[in-house]
Assembly symmetry: C2
Homo-oligomer: 334 residues x 2
C-alpha cells in the first residue's frame, strides 16, 4: 500500500521541485551560506532566511529574501529547507532545539538539505529525528570554498536515498556544479571527512618533503615537477603547492591568504578523529595530523591557509622524536 501511495505522490513532488515558485528556507548566512542563498534567489526561487546575525539577514533581504523569526517559522513556511551551519552543536540546536526546524514541520516529506560539515553520527541522528516526523534530511556537505559558493560551482557530497537525492538535485544544482550521491544518510559527511583527512595529511607531507629538498639544495620547481610526475603526486603538490614560488595564484604565493583556513582543516580532521574515536576505529596518522593543525593554529596560523604549515617548519626546532614516536605508535599495536 505504501509503495503505491508513494508512486502517486512522487510525480507531484517532482513537479513542485522543478518549479521556481517553490519556497526555500535558508538558515546560516555566513561566508558560505550568504552566497548559496543569493544564488538560490538568482535562480528565481523565493527564499526565506534566518540567521543570528541581523546584519547578515539584512544583506540577503536587500537582495530579495524574506526574513523569518525562527527556524520553526522557516520550516512551517517552506517547501525545501537548506542549512549551512558552523558546527554539529549548531545543527542540533537549529533542527531539534526550542523553536527548532522540527517543530515547524507541517507537511509530509518535507525536504531538509544540510550543507554543514558535521559529525556523521550526529547527522544520522538528526536525520532519524526528522524521519520520525515524516520529514527527510539529506547531508550535503560541500567543497569549493567561498569562491565556489559565490560562483555557484560547489561540489555537494550527498547522503540519503537515491530517490531523495534526485529530489534534492535541482536545488543543489542552483548552488553547485558537481552533485555526487555518496550513499545513505551520513555518507556525504563521511566522504567529505575522509577526503579532507587525506588532504590534511598529504599537505603536511608535501610541506615537509618540499622543505627538506629545498634545504638540502634542490631547486623547488625541479623538485615539485619530478614529484608531480612520480608516485608522490597529489593535489597538495600539483595544484596547491605549499612552497612559495612553485605555483602562481595559490595561497603559498600570497602569504598564505585567501585559501582554506587552518582552523577549518583542524575542524574537519577533528570531526574525522571524533567519528573514529566514537566507533573504535584506529586513526594514528590522522590524529597526529589533527594535532599538527592544532599546533599550527596556536602558532597564530589559524586564520591563514592550511598550507602555512610550510612556513611553520621554518620556525620549528629540529628535534627528532624517535623515542616518543616509537612509544606512541607501539601503543597502537597489540
Amino acid at each position: 500500500m505504501k509503495m503505491s501511495f508513494d508512486y502517486v505522490q512522487r510525480p507531484l513532488l517532482r513537479f513542485f521541485s522543478a518549479s521556481s515558485k517553490e519556497r526555500i528556507g535558508f538558515i546560516g548566512l555566513g561566508a558560505m551560506g550568504a552566497h548559496q542563498a543569493a544564488n538560490l534567489l538568482k535562480k528565481g526561487y523565493s527564499v526565506t532566511v534566518f540567521d543570528i546575525s541581523s546584519e547578515a539577514v539584512g544583506k540577503l533581504v536587500a537582495k530579495g529574501a524574506t526574513k523569518a523569526q525562527s527556524p520553526k517559522e522557516i520550516a512551517s513556511q517552506s517547501d525545501v529547507i537548506v542549512t549551512m551551519l558552523p558546527s554539529s552543536d549548531n545543527v542540533v540546536k537549529v533542527y531539534l532545539g526550542d523553536n527548532g526546524l522540527i517543530h515547524g514541520i507541517n507537511k509530509k516529506d518535507l525536504l531538509f538539505l544540510d550543507s554543514s560539515t558535521i559529525d556523521p553520527i550526529i547527522s544520522r541522528s538528526v536525520s532519524d529525528n526528522l524521519a520520525s516526523k515524516n520529514a527527510i534530511l539529506l547531508d550535503c556537505p560541500v567543497s569549493g570554498g567561498t569562491l565556489g559558493a559565490e560562483a555557484g560551482t560547489l561540489t555537494f557530497m550527498v547522503g540519503g536515498s537515491k530517490e531523495n537525492f534526485q529530489r534534492a538535485k535541482p536545488y543543489l544544482e542552483a548552488m553547485g556544479k558537481n552533485i555526487v550521491h555518496c550513499g545513505d544518510s551520513g555518507a556525504g559527511q563521511i566522504v567529505k571527512l575522509c577526503n579532507n583527512l587525506i588532504l590534511g595529511i598529504s599537505m603536511l607531507g608535501v610541506s615537509e618533503a618540499m622543505n627538506l629538498g629545498v634545504k638540502l639544495g634542490v631547486d623547488k620547481k625541479v623538485l615539485a615537477s619530478v614529484i608531480n610526475t612520480s608516485s608522490g603526486r597529489c593535489w597538495s603538490s600539483e595544484t596547491y603547492n605549499p612552497c612559495p614560488g612553485v605555483l602562481e595564484g595559490v595561497p603559498s604565493s600570497r602569504g598564505y591568504t585567501g585559501g582554506f583556513q587552518t582552523n577549518l582543516m583542524k575542524k574537519d580532521i577533528g570531526l574525522a578523529v571524533q567519528a573514529a574515536t566514537s566507533q573504535n576505529i584506529p586513526l594514528p596518522i590522522g590524529t597526529f595530523a589533527f594535532k599538527s593543525y592544532e599546533v599550527l593554529s596556536k602558532e597564530s596560523y589559524g586564520n591563514k591557509d592550511f598550507s602555512s604549515y610550510f612556513e611553520l617548519l621554518q620556525k620549528l626546532k629540529p628535534h627528532i622524536l624517535e623515542k616518543q614516536v616509537v612509544e606512541l605508535v607501539s601503543k597502537e599495536t597489540h
Copy 2:
C-alpha cells in the same frame, strides 16, 4: 687553459659514449641490478660484473657478462661503471674500501653511475672522493621497481653537472625510460627521498581514510571515486589504492604481494629522516610515518607491499592518542 683542454676532450668522450663497444662494469646483481645489467647486455654493451653472490654472478655470466674479482678490477677494466647496492654502507665499502672502485681508477673522467638509493650526504661525500681522483660520480636512484628494471622502463633521478648528465644519458636509457636531471651531486637522491616520503605518508593517510569511511558504512568504490576527483586525490588513492577490491591488479587486491616492500619504504623514509636529522631540518610527520612503517615491518608485513598498512589497521587497538600526540608535536615548537 682548463676550459680549452676540456673543450678538446669532450667530443672524444662523447664519441666513445655513443659506441656500443664501450666496456661497462656493473656491481650489485640483486633483484634490481641483475635486470639492469642484463638490459645493458641486450643493448650490445660488453659488461663486466661483480657481486658477493657467486650465484648472481653466474647467472649474468650465462647471459654473456664477464666476471671480475673485485670492484678495483672493475674500475680498471671499464669505461663506465654502474652500481646498484642496498645501503649507504655498501656504497662506501664498494667505492672507497679495500679493493674498492677508487683504487682501480686509471684514466681521467672515468664515469660512475650509482643507482642505489642512499643518504644524499654520503652520496656527495663519495662523489667528492672520486673527484679528487679526477673521476665522476653521478647519483642516479631509480623508481619503477623490479618490473620496471626487467622491462627497462625505470625512471632515473640524476644528480650531477648538466654536462655529465648528458654523458650518462645513453647508458641510463639502456636501462630506463625517463631520465631526469634533478640538479648537482646528491640531487637525484634528495628528490627520490622527498618523493618517497610523500608517497609513504600519503599511503598511511589513504589507508586510514579508506578504513574509516568503509567502517562507517560508505561503499569503498564510491568513496575512492569521490576522493579521486577531489582534493584528496593522490597516487596512493588513484593508482595503488590500499583497500582490497577498489582497483584490480594492485598489491591490495592480491594479498599485498608483488609491490614495493614495506622494508624498502621504511629504508627510504629512514634515509629522509636521517638526512633531516643530520642537517637539523624538522620532519615531524615524516618521522611519525617512518615509525609507522617500522611497526608494520615488526608486525610481519616487512616483505609485503607497503600498502598492507590498511590490513594492519584491522588489527590495531583503537586507542586515541590525543595526549601523547599533543606532547609530541608541542615539543617540536618553541
